[in-house]
């Protein structure tokens, strides 16, 4: 009898230190189907798939491939079993060509036979409609070219079981459609596919079945035909959460930041932010929406003085309203900004890589931005930061063994509380946050929303860069939509619809052309 399941994972458990990433998870993938692995950020989807592809080794549980129990202790084992995974962060070697990346790790003759690789690559490309230049170096490729190469790589290796980790996050709608078409082709070719996602629309559009994870636990699976967005959301979040985020009318909003003609190029000279004109008001929360990598990071970092802007760009800071004195922020740098008494708070996306120092304790992290003015002369003063750390721990209910614990050892939510707590303690006049609730549990997320609202009420100009449209629509007073580094409209948060924001994220309104990432 032919085995029905390509993959069965039974009671698979994995923990990292104290954190239980997967707890007795069950997953089955039938042959020749597309399965969506659905869950919020941090629900353990990628960890589970990493165990299937040999990146991690499970602490407990069994994995069956085509009905046979297997041990996958390395990517090599996974590949021998016909499992190929396309990671969210591409696993490509920059200085090698496409063909060399494909040949990497493969058995075969002593010499890399470029000709036969190129031939087989063209064959695969022809069958599914890809376009890959075998001799192109990876560092010369665009994001979608790299993703294509990744998929071709797994197919080249004869993978029957494909895992795609959030493949659409970096794609334009057109590219997404193309990818979906390819996936359907592969399915009719008899391949079994798992697509990791947290987007319901994609689940419904592409998959035959869906498995839902929540907080590292298996919640259930169902046929997509029988599923609807409502039911899936319930499974994903546990209960229907109507986001009861408080939103007051802004009190006497005043223009505080005037962003004019802001253009930012990265170190390779690629335009990341193109001629942005935007006002930010004190006493309101301005949301920034967009597909990831569309200039959100550059926008915040340019304002914070961490990214140089092209000349002609301007960000004027008006502490006392539109008629008051103005100060140009660009070109100052974070040090000069704080020296001029401009209280610019910034909660960056990379919490431990930018906002905090992982190896330092809570108290030392509290003085990251203020150490210069604390203490006399050349010596640091640690009493005040220590007191502040205790206050933040108490006020925001940070779970930590002690003030002297390195922040690296705290969980994600507590790390974020420490960071936000410090930024708010500086009594900012502008507060910028990037993906402030990413990876946080519901309670902590609400704490963050509450804190942002308090700041808004206190007359702070708040910028909230987010990915969850529901949150953006229910928290923010206005929503600026970025599309490929350009501003594609500023919408009223109270009247805008999800569809409208979603559409503007993917297509420029003025030209009507599809946006490219």
């Amino acid at each position: 009898m032919a085995e029905e399941f390509a993959v069965r994972m039974v009671d698979v458990t994995k923990s990292f230190g104290q954190v239980l990433a997967n707890n007795k998870v069950y997953l089955e993938l039938r042959k020749g189907e597309i399965l969506s692995l659905l869950g919020e950020n941090g629900s353990g989807k990628t960890t589970l798939m990493n165990m299937l592809s040999g990146i991690y080794f499970p602490d407990a549980g069994q994995i069956y491939i085509n009905g046979r129990e297997v041990t996958i202790s390395s990517p090599h084992d996974a590949y021998a079993l016909g499992i190929g995974m396309v990671h969210q962060h591409f696993k490509l070697v920059d200085v090698l060509t496409a063909a060399e990346n494909i040949a990497l790790g493969l058995p075969g003759g002593a010499v890399v036979d470029r000709k036969s690789i190129a031939k087989k690559v063209r064959e695969i490309c022809g069958r599914y409609g890809f376009d890959v230049d075998p001799d192109k170096k990876v560092y010369d490729m665009s994001v979608s070219e790299k993703q294509t190469l990744e998929i071709v790589k797994t197919l080249y290796r004869g993978a029957d079981i494909l895992i795609l980790d959030e493949p659409t996050a970096v794609l334009t709608p057109q590219e997404t459609e193309k990818l979906f078409a390819v996936m359907r082709n592969m399915r009719s070719d008899g391949k079994s596919i798992i697509i990791i996602t947290h987007k319901l629309a994609e689940v419904l559009a592409i998959s035959d079945r869906v498995t839902v994870l929540r907080k590292g636990e298996y919640i259930g699976d169902m046929d997509t035909a029988k599923a609807d967005a409502r039911a899936l959301t319930d499974m994903m979040v546990g209960r229907t959460v109507t986001l009861n985020i408080q939103r007051d009318q802004p009190e006497r909003p005043q223009r505080r930041l005037e962003i004019r003609n802001l253009t930012v190029k990265d170190s390779d000279g690629v335009v990341r932010l193109d001629d942005i004109n935007l006002d930010v008001y004190a006493g309101e929360i301005l949301g920034v929406a967009g597909i990831s990598g569309c200039g959100q990071k550059e926008l915040l970092e340019a304002i914070a003085g961490l990214q140089p802007a092209v000349s002609g760009s301007s960000v004027k800071y008006r502490p006392t309203g539109p008629d008051g004195p103005a100060e140009e922020l660009l070109g100052l740098g974070p040090r000069a900004v704080s020296d001029r008494g401009i209280r610019l708070a910034f909660v960056p996306e990379d919490r431990l890589g930018m906002g905090l120092v992982g190896s330092m304790d809570l108290a030392d992290n509290m003085m990251l931005k203020s150490y210069r003015t604390l203490g006399k002369g050349m010596f640091t003063q640690r009493r005040q930061p220590y007191e502040l750390a205790r206050e933040v721990v108490r006020e925001l209910e940070v779970v930590t063994p002690s003030i002297e614990t390195p922040v690296r050892k705290l969980s994600g939510g507590n790390v974020q509380k420490v960071l936000v707590g410090r930024e708010i303690a500086m009594h900012p006049s502008v507060l910028m946050s990037a993906y402030a609730v990413r990876g946080l549990d519901i309670n902590t997320s609400y704490t963050i929303y509450r804190l942002l609202n308090e700041q808004k009420k206190a007359g702070v100009a708040v910028i909230y860069v987010g990915e969850d449209l529901d949150v953006l629509l229910q928290l923010c007073d206005r929503i600026a939509v970025l599309c490929s580094g350009r501003l594609n409209g500023v919408l009223d948060g109270r009247t805008a619809t999800k569809e409208e924001v979603g559409y503007r994220m993917t297509a420029m309104a003025d030209s009507g052309k599809e946006a490219r990432v």
């Binding site: 040090r335 330092m360 010596f379």
Partner: protein
């Protein structure tokens, strides 16, 4: 076809300090045991007597104890100089060259104005020029690192050999007597520019200066704003930029300090102990000190212990070697073996290793 690895290795969350030191001690003892076997193989001498003889070599007489102290201080001084660079994750492997440049600068002062100035002024000038010379030698790679992100490990390594050739050049220029290819003892008659004896002991000033440097560096790294900046830059340059710290300036400033202190140890080597200049003024200590600084985890107080251990091994092994008509290099062998074990023992402090049992058994159980 599949095999899972038998050992499961995971990062420890943190080990009580005394257990960490116990592991290091075990590494040390294991290294000493292996060294004993090697020494026995060569000399056929009872290992216990070997270590007794080593003790004798390092501390057997007052004179030997003082030489051991002097050399410990020298090694410590260099390691103290390396501490800020390493804390910033800047691989300054150029201490050897920085010492030599400091030493050459000191020797120049002693040679050219040695008989024209009082000793206190000579010492001040020697200290100043050695600090400056070392700082310059550290600054060159730092500037390139700050500006173009040039690989500092390779750059500082190359700078050593340029310094060595400059030293050879100066030795040839200053040689005394002619044709000896050595500078000889500088100011041997007048002792101008030499460290004065304090409390009737020759090397007391060395001890005072180096211990002061160690304490100051400890305070600098722990309690000053600049020390704080160094740790932030060492952890993450992005965080540093975010905090408004100029990474370039911190790299440049820190390497100037690091080079300066290494150069200062050249001053101590010339004015305070050797009273001459040659490539042996550094003699590989710049490299040994890297190991000292690294193993002490940037803590200058712990460096004292490690420096003492290494110098003890060196002196002891030299003693054995001379008793058995071997050459001094025996000490490098012992030093190497023990360092291998100490380096290896760090793994067991950072990670816990346990045997992984088969998953099938777990199911049955």
């Amino acid at each position: 076809m599949n095999h899972e690895s038998l050992l499961h290795i995971s990062k420890r969350d943190g080990l009580v300090w005394w257990r960490a030191w116990l592991i290091r001690l075990a590494g040390l003892l294991l290294g000493m045991a292996v060294s004993a076997v090697v020494i026995y193989a060569i000399t056929k001498l009872n290992p216990v007597r070997v270590y007794a003889a080593m003790w004798d070599g390092a501390f057997g007489t007052t004179r030997r104890a003082w030489v051991t102290t002097r050399d410990t201080m020298m090694l410590l001084c260099i390691a103290v100089g390396l501490a800020p660079a390493f804390m910033m994750r800047f691989w300054n492997v150029g201490a050897e060259g920085q010492i030599l440049m400091g030493g050459c600068a000191t020797a120049a002062v002693l040679l050219y104005v040695g008989n024209a100035c009082p000793t206190w002024l000579l010492l001040l000038m020697g200290a100043a020029v050695s600090l400056l010379a070392g700082a310059i030698w550290g600054l060159i790679p730092a500037l390139c690192k700050a500006r173009w992100n040039t690989n500092e490990t390779l750059f500082t390594l190359m700078m050593n050999y340029i310094a060595i050739q400059i030293t050879c050049f100066l030795v040839a220029k200053w040689e005394n007597p002619k044709g000896s290819n050595s500078v000889g003892i500088i100011n041997s008659r007048t002792q101008a520019g030499w460290f004065p004896s304090l409390f009737g002991q020759q090397y007391v000033l060395n001890v005072i200066l180096v211990l002061a440097a160690a304490v100051l560096m400890f305070l600098y790294l722990r309690y000053t704003k600049q020390g704080y900046e160094i740790s932030v830059v060492g952890e993450s340059e992005n965080t540093a930029r975010y905090a408004g710290i100029s990474v370039r300036r911190v790299i440049i400033r820190t390497m100037a300090i690091s080079g300066a202190v290494c150069g200062f140890s050249g001053f101590i080597a010339v004015s305070g102990s050797g009273h001459t200049i040659s490539v042996d003024t550094a003699g590989g200590r710049g490299f040994t000190a890297i190991i000292v600084a690294w193993m002490a985890k940037f803590n200058t107080m712990v460096m004292i212990l490690i420096a003492l251990l290494l110098v003890f091994l060196e002196k002891g092994a030299i003693q054995i070697a001379s008793q058995f008509h071997l050459n001094d290099y025996a000490s490098n062998v012992v030093e190497g073996i023990i360092l291998f074990f100490l380096l290896g023992s760090e793994f067991f402090i950072q990670y816990s290793v346990r045997f992984r049992h088969s998953h099938k058994k777990e199911v049955e159980a």
